[in-house]
């Protein structure tokens, strides 16, 4: 099988059209089955007891009374989840996050779980579990956690990336550094230098569907898990490993997913549900409440960032430096590193340095959130870029165009870029009617750029042709944003048949080889690539069958417009054979016709976006209304433009909520104060303008169709674009996200400097 990923610039007949998605009717009629929508005979209700303390030693857990309660079938603690990780600390961290092991590390950390015949009994049982806590000092703020003398969250952690290697425990799990050139020399050449500090608060992805699963493990060691997830193959591998099960004996089926955005790439309560089922010998269903989702799944980081940028009066950046402090929750991760890698990726910089710190605090383990870490870094950098532009008297768009990265630029994180789309998105912004629309009193306009890596990964796809010529496309990447429609378009394009003849299904883990999680904007990129190859594999078989029917050499057969065609003049009397005809004859020409492919879809191209935003700020109340918003992003090739635009709009909407409203609020006791949608306010329709979109198509040379991932990049610019707009409207520089009314009023009252430029 030829796995040449090179872009071929082929002309499309179906790709690029906008047919309805195959899962649409089910979703609008309520037939779609999500995580909580399946049941099993004899099913129990699983509930989890959670720590009310931000940090506490668990001296003793007494489950005896709960176990004696009629209707309770299993009670588990960490003793029922033994450490099978063989010294793999990252795996042990996952297990410990699922169930506390001796210490509760954050408010909401699971400490025990029950399975009972109904919810009422399970709730009673939770109340009968007695946990003897010794409350320990806690820390929830990233800057406080870095100070000497701060409570230590993980005593085994030593800071990685500093020399000499430290011997004492620290909340800084990692220091990383990226960049090149001589930033100090660069700053000396600058005519203008802007240096500023920023903060962003912790937000949750806010997916509407809470985590839910139905777990069933039998005494024979075989199990099944129905779960809302972005990666059921990864869930299978992780759960099997943590529970000591054989991978092949745990079948995981992904439900329809009501949003994930990175939050459903990790296991949370799924190993607990499996352990309960194993102990009870009954199926166990666990459905998180919204409060549990907020307290005990993975939000994004809060951050504290310093940025310094210098430029000459003619608009050339001479040096840029950032120090980025990201809190990772209670377990080490690499979010600060990612912030450092992405911070200056939009620009062509001779001298640049970005230092990232990953910091532990007593908050839930941080998970990915759409282009993880990049939005906060972009907020700080793009806010500073705007201030430099104002100080040198240059239009912010022109300033960015002059300094934008391009093909041949050495990226701030190291490598040299191939063909990229930052310049074209900026030019499109400059020429967009939005930039010329008039503004009125108390209104301001802002713009900003964003970058994300994108990636591919392991992918496996089957394509089976039915006896009537319709096509079953079976993929293993969970459909989080319309990929079943996009992949069906690709199969139809390759086979030369109508879109309606293809049915795409996401298979369970027993039906396909491993597929990596749908993350990193990889679904359409990687499964699209595997679909192209699987379809071409099926076409190879179809040509062989035609050759058999015609009794000619297969080399004399080609595939054109959904038909086998005999090529040579000597075969001129042979009528073309349609897919339907070949499928109908298949039982007598060799049996079922199928195509198959497994691929490691590397070569995902990086992606850039530029956003424009208009806001109106009420100076009396600090309330901000977004009145116009435009997203311009490079998609490489938009397979299904509706769903590309949907990704752009959805990411912008989430960014608007993040920028203006959303915030984890912790009390002095280290407990989350607002774990619900009443007090943690995500945008609703009335909060949002129509979000206009412009798709640019700068082909990715690493994909046959030129596809780039599109799902994440457009959450990167909104924080900065809105901050620049609010700052322009209010006349003061906003440096703390979210820009809630109290913060805006406070900034206006205190001036934040008379001019928001500096």
């Amino acid at each position: 099988m030829n796995h040449d990923q090179s872009f071929t610039n082929q002309e499309f007949k179906i790709v690029g059209t906008r047919p309805p998605r195959p899962d649409g009717v089910d979703k609008v009629t309520g037939r779609a089955r999500y995580g909580a929508d399946v049941s099993a005979p004899g099913q129990l209700v699983g509930l989890i007891l959670r720590s009310p303390h931000a940090h506490a030693k668990i001296k003793k857990i007494d489950t005896s009374k709960a176990e004696k309660l009629p209707g309770v079938k299993a009670v588990i603690t960490s003793a029922d989840l033994p450490d099978l990780t063989k010294g793999d600390r990252s795996q042990l961290d996952i297990l410990e996050n699922c169930m506390a092991r001796g210490r509760a590390l954050y408010d909401g950390h699971a400490v025990a779980a029950v399975a009972a015949v109904d919810a009422e009994t399970a709730r009673k049982a939770l109340k009968l579990i007695k946990v003897d806590y010794q409350v320990l000092p806690h820390v929830t703020d990233v800057d406080e956690a870095m100070k000497p003398g701060a409570p230590i969250v993980q005593p085994h952690v030593r800071t990685v990336g500093v020399n000499p290697a430290p011997t004492k425990a620290s909340n800084v799990s990692q220091r990383t550094e990226f960049g090149h050139g001589d930033v100090e020399a660069g700053f000396k050449r600058a005519d203008v230098i802007v240096e500023r500090s920023y903060k962003t608060e912790q937000t949750h992805q806010g997916y509407i569907e809470p985590h839910a699963c139905l777990a069933s493990v039998g005494p024979d060691g075989q199990g099944e898990l129905w779960v809302t997830t972005q990666g059921h193959f990864t869930f299978r591998n992780v759960c099997a490993s943590l529970l000591g099960m054989d991978v092949a004996k745990l079948k995981v089926t992904s439900s329809e997913i009501g949003g994930g955005f990175g939050g459903k790439t990790h296991v949370w309560m799924e190993p607990v549900a499996l352990a309960l089922s194993r102990k009870a010998n009954r199926p166990v269903k666990v459905v998180m409440t919204r409060e549990e989702v907020f307290r005990a799944t993975g939000p994004t980081c809060s951050t504290s960032i310093d940025v310094k940028i210098g430029a000459t009066k003619d608009g050339r950046i001479t040096a840029a430096r950032a120090e980025l402090r990201y809190q990772d929750g209670a377990f080490p991760s690499i979010w600060g590193m990612l912030g450092a890698m992405t911070s200056f990726a939009c620009y062509d910089l001779e001298n640049v340095k970005a230092i990232g710190y990953d910091v532990l605090v007593n908050r839930p383990k941080v998970a990915a959130y759409r282009a993880p870490s990049a939005p906060m870094a972009a907020f700080a950098v793009e806010s500073t870029i705007d201030q430099v532009a104002v100080q040198i008297g240059m239009d912010p768009v022109d300033f960015r165009i002059k300094n934008a990265a391009k093909e041949g630029t050495r990226a701030s994180y190291g490598p040299t870029y191939g063909p990229i789309g930052i310049g074209p998105t900026l030019l499109a912004a400059k020429n967009h009617p939005h930039m010329k629309a008039p503004l009125h009193k108390n209104q301001g306009r802002g713009m900003a750029c964003g970058f994300w890596f994108n990636f591919g990964g392991q992918t496996c796809t089957d394509l089976n042709i039915g006896v009537d010529g319709t096509v079953s496309l079976t993929v293993g990447t969970v459909d989080v944003g319309g990929s079943r429609a996009s992949l069906s378009l690709i199969a139809a394009e390759e086979l030369g048949i109508p879109y309606e003849k293809v049915k795409c299904t996401v298979a369970d883990t027993a039906s396909l080889g491993h597929n990596d999680t749908t993350e990193g904007s990889r679904g359409t990129f990687s499964s699209g690539m595997a679909t192209i190859y699987a379809a071409r594999d099926a076409i190879r078989v179809l040509k062989e069958r035609a050759a058999k029917q015609w009794e000619i050499d297969v080399a004399d057969v080609t595939w054109r417009n959904g038909r086998a065609v005999a090529l040579k003049a000597e075969h001129g009397n042979l009528s073309e054979l349609t897919l339907e005809e070949l499928a109908a004859a298949s039982p007598r020409t060799g049996g079922p016709i199928a195509g198959h492919n497994e691929v490691v879809a590397d070569g995902a191209g990086v992606s850039f976006a530029t956003h424009i935003c208009d806001v109106e700020v009420d100076p009396e109340t600090g309330y901000t209304k977004v009145i116009r918003y435009t997203v311009i992003q490079d998609a490489g090739k938009a397979i299904h433009p509706d769903y590309v635009e949907g990704q752009f709009q959805g990411a912008a909407a989430q960014g608007i909520g993040w920028a203006l409203n959303e915030e984890y609020v912790y009390g002095k006791d280290g407990r989350l104060q607002n774990p619900g949608f009443l007090d943690y306010r995500i945008p609703v329709c009335s909060d949002l303008p129509f979000i206009d979109t412009q798709i640019l198509e700068i082909p990715n040379p690493g994909h046959p169709y030129g596809v780039r991932g599109v799902g994440e990049t457009s959450i990167v610019p909104p924080l900065a674009a809105i901050a620049n707009a609010v700052s322009n409207a209010a006349g003061v520089r906003l440096t703390h996200i979210p820009m809630s009314p109290p913060r805006i009023l406070n900034a206006i009252k205190n001036g934040n400097g008379k001019s928001h430029a500096a």
Partner: protein, 81 residues
């Protein structure tokens, strides 16, 4: 011979060097020879590594060929959302 650029988090395993020269024609050979020379790098590779070849990032494809004179960067493996 390839001049491999190391991200800061890998330099401590190579005596602080920003780049090292390695004779390798594939990603697999490159990583193997680096570990032979700097055994402590194995742990970092196990945690996740990506290789950028002429600006294109490869996370998994160990068979990927490295052209003579290519720009090669070792980067941390990146998660997504």
């Amino acid at each position: 011979m390839i001049e491999v650029q190391l991200s800061a988090s890998l330099r401590e395993f190579a005596g602080g060097a920003a780049s090292v020269a390695v004779e390798a024609t594939t990603v697999r050979e490159l990583l193997r020879k680096l570990v032979e020379r700097y055994p402590r790098m194995q742990k970092r590779f196990d945690e996740g590594i990506a290789v950028s070849i002429n600006g294109e990032i490869f996370r998994d494809d160990r068979a990927q060929r490295i052209p003579e004179g290519a720009e090669v960067y070792l980067l941390p493996r990146i998660p997504g959302g």
